[in-house]
């Protein structure tokens, strides 16, 4: 029994420590900032998984974010008042949409995949802004903050308790992705990225591995969208605008592609820089664009990708072998 506990602790301690730090930062940093960071990191982890583990570059993440957000928003504006039901519906609509487009998209070569996915984001933008303007109220967006009722146990209509809720959800998401990384499925994902022929010879189907990974990642993104909707009480087509398509990719690379804590570190760094820089010079695109180019040219390992090996050397006694792979960054 004791041994099982130790084992469980060794598995969990990274996640616990990371989110303990986030929880403690609550006393130093403004609440709005931390809530934003947590949701953003959930938004990014799907993209990081797709890019680092499966080898799909997805500029289309905002599409699924918007699907999740609007799934929640429609329920809360027109049908019900319970935010938990809204969240559930947001996630389910994300699942439905990625299950619908997934079989088509994952068949494509990675270059076509990237283009088609970005096109999907733009199309959903038009859909929400113009085609469905009667329901979504176009650019004005849907406001439903007053529709959300207080829930028993954990009242997520208040920002303070939403923070606790978001923290718990994020921990669950991280545990899930850590589990995926350890599982055979995670190994299959990496194999389909590195060498799909070999995976095929091992008797796995590249198609179903990719499809499952695609659906998992995009449902996570839809969850982030649903959380945005409940937290802000407002959704507009702006969340899927093409100018923001790069956000999750930037954060992924900033944090360290394919690493477990990269999205969290990246989200903190990105949101922090965004706040500071938009106050200082107000020209956000200029900065983020050249930052992206710089990181790519400087070796694309990101913050966590650079820090992790050093931390591991520091705590080498109780750490697992490096999970990050540097392979497959060069063209085979």
């Amino acid at each position: 029994m004791g041994e099982a506990m130790v084992k469980a602790f060794r598995w969990w301690w990274g996640i616990l420590l990371a989110f303990l730090l986030v929880a403690l930062s609550r006393f130093v940093l403004p609440l709005a900032f931390i809530n934003e960071v947590i949701i953003f990191s959930i938004y990014t982890i799907g993209c990081s998984f797709l890019l680092g583990r499966v080898g799909f570059i997805s500029f289309g993440q905002p599409a699924y974010l918007a699907v999740g957000a609007y799934g929640t928003a429609f329920y809360l504006s027109y049908f019900g008042t319970n935010p938990y039901v809204g969240l559930l519906l947001g996630v389910l609509s994300g699942l439905a949409v990625s299950g619908l487009v997934g079989p088509l998209f994952v068949r494509l070569r990675s270059d076509y995949f990237a283009l088609v996915n970005l096109a999907l984001a733009v199309i959903i933008y038009y859909l929400m802004q113009k085609v469905l303007a009667d329901i979504t109220r176009g650019d004005n967006g849907l406001w439903f903050l007053t529709n959300i009722v207080a829930t028993p146990v954990l009242d997520i209509s208040s920002p303070n308790q939403f923070f606790i809720f978001a923290l718990l959800v994020a921990m669950a998401v991280w545990a899930f992705y850590k589990y995926l990384d350890d599982s055979i499925f995670g190994a299959c994902c990496l194999a389909t990225k590195v060498n799909e022929d070999k995976l095929m010879f091992l008797g796995y189907s590249n198609y179903s591995v990719r499809l499952t990974a695609f659906i998992i990642a995009n449902t996570t993104t839809a969850l982030a969208g649903a959380m945005y909707a409940v937290y802000l009480g407002f959704v507009s087509p702006e969340i899927t605008s093409p100018a923001r398509a790069a956000d999750p990719v930037v954060v992924t690379i900033l944090g360290g592609t394919g690493t477990l804590y990269g999205p969290l570190v990246g989200a903190i760094a990105y949101t922090g820089m965004k706040d500071v820089i938009s106050k200082l010079i107000g020209n956000w695109e200029l900065f983020i664009g050249f930052l992206l180019v710089f990181i790519m040219l400087a070796g694309e390992r990101g913050i966590w990708g650079t820090l992790q090996p050093r931390l591991q050397a520091l705590f080498s006694r109780n750490s697992a072998p490096a999970a990050m792979d540097d392979r497959a960054t060069k063209r085979p």
Binding site: L51, G55, I57, F59, L104, R107, L108, R109, S110, D111, Y112, A114, L115, V116, L118, A119, L120, V122, I123, Y126, L127, K130, V131, A133, S241, P242, A243, A245, A246, V249, V250, I253, N283, W284, E285, L286, F287, I288, G289, F290, L291, L292, V293, M296, L297, E300, T329, K330, R331
Partner: protein, 290 residues
């Protein structure tokens, strides 16, 4: 039923918009075919071309001079970007170039905002003359745009089939190592192709400027359509790009006559349909691996 006048002006509108998409998609397609990069920054050269057209035509009063200047500046900018950035990443995998070029695009939009601000700027149409076709008055400028696109296609065709550099580019699309083995300077070939692509994107921006308002994120607005043109036609194929630009232009234009909001969505549906049948687009080659 639609009346003929509406139909004819609709078709012409589609042709002109398709011409713009064609000019931009050629760049993406050529860059992919030869260098195996997805150069999203073509959309930046489009904006640069449009803004230089705006500023020069404001300063000199002649829009054609502006377009010429826009083409030139777009070419110079693309040359600089190729030398400074793309030179280092040709060897990397495809996603790498896509992320980097998206960074260039977003950063470039920031630079444009820095110089010109965020307010949309109007560019006057060079000629307001109308000409009658089958009893319909159509604006001459749109006809000129179509004519320029046709000339560019002819020029590109001649360049790729009749000149030694063009032949080397076509050979490079098939197999770049063999071309290198023949003693041809491949890196210069890449630079030339990239400049051609950037120049054509700049031309598209300059020609499109009088038809729309010039604003910093104009590149992102056409992004989806240019992508669809490239995907439907098949990456790396000029002929496919021409045909799909024609299709997308007509669908957008004629679709908006039937039900306006649907016009934005229809090309996407067509794209999905074509990808369902042929995952590499109409004329895309089966699997280009290197």
């Amino acid at each position: 039923m639609m009346d003929t006048q509406l139909l004819i002006s609709g078709i012409l509108f589609g042709l002109s918009i398709g011409s713009i998409y064609f000019l931009m998609a050629i760049g993406l397609s050529l860059c992919f075919g030869l260098m195996r990069i997805i150069s999203l920054d073509q959309l930046l050269y489009y904006s640069v071309g449009a803004y230089i057209t705006y500023s020069l035509s404001l300063a000199t009063g002649n829009i054609w001079l502006g377009v010429l200047g826009g083409v030139g500046v777009a070419g110079i900018v693309s040359f600089a970007v190729e030398r400074l950035i793309f030179r280092r990443i040709y060897e990397r995998e495809l996603t790498f170039s896509m992320i980097t070029s998206f960074g260039i695009l977003i950063g470039g939009i920031g630079v444009i905002k820095f110089f010109w601000g965020v307010v949309p700027r109007p560019v006057p149409v060079p000629t307001l003359a109308q000409v009658g076709i089958l009893g319909t008055e159509v604006p001459v400028y749109r006809l000129i745009v179509v004519a320029i696109a046709v000339l560019v296609y002819a020029g590109i065709w001649l360049f790729l089939n009749r000149t030694i550099i063009g032949k080397a580019i076509r050979a490079g699309i098939e197999n770049v190592e063999h071309v290198e083995g023949l003693g041809i300077n491949v890196s210069r070939l890449f630079t030339i192709t990239f400049i051609i692509a950037g120049t054509l994107s700049g031309l598209a921006g300059g020609l499109h400027a009088p038809l729309i308002m010039v604003d910093p994120s104009m590149g992102l607005e056409v992004l989806a359509f240019v992508f669809m043109v490239v995907i439907i036609g098949g990456l790396g194929s000029i002929k496919g790009t021409l045909i799909s630009a024609f299709i997308v232009g007509q669908v957008v234009s004629l679709g908006s006559l039937i039900y306006a909001p649907l016009a934005q969505m229809a090309p996407f549906a067509i794209m999905l349909l074509i990808l369902l049948i042929k995952p590499t687009g109409l004329y895309g080659s089966a699997l280009l691996k290197r």
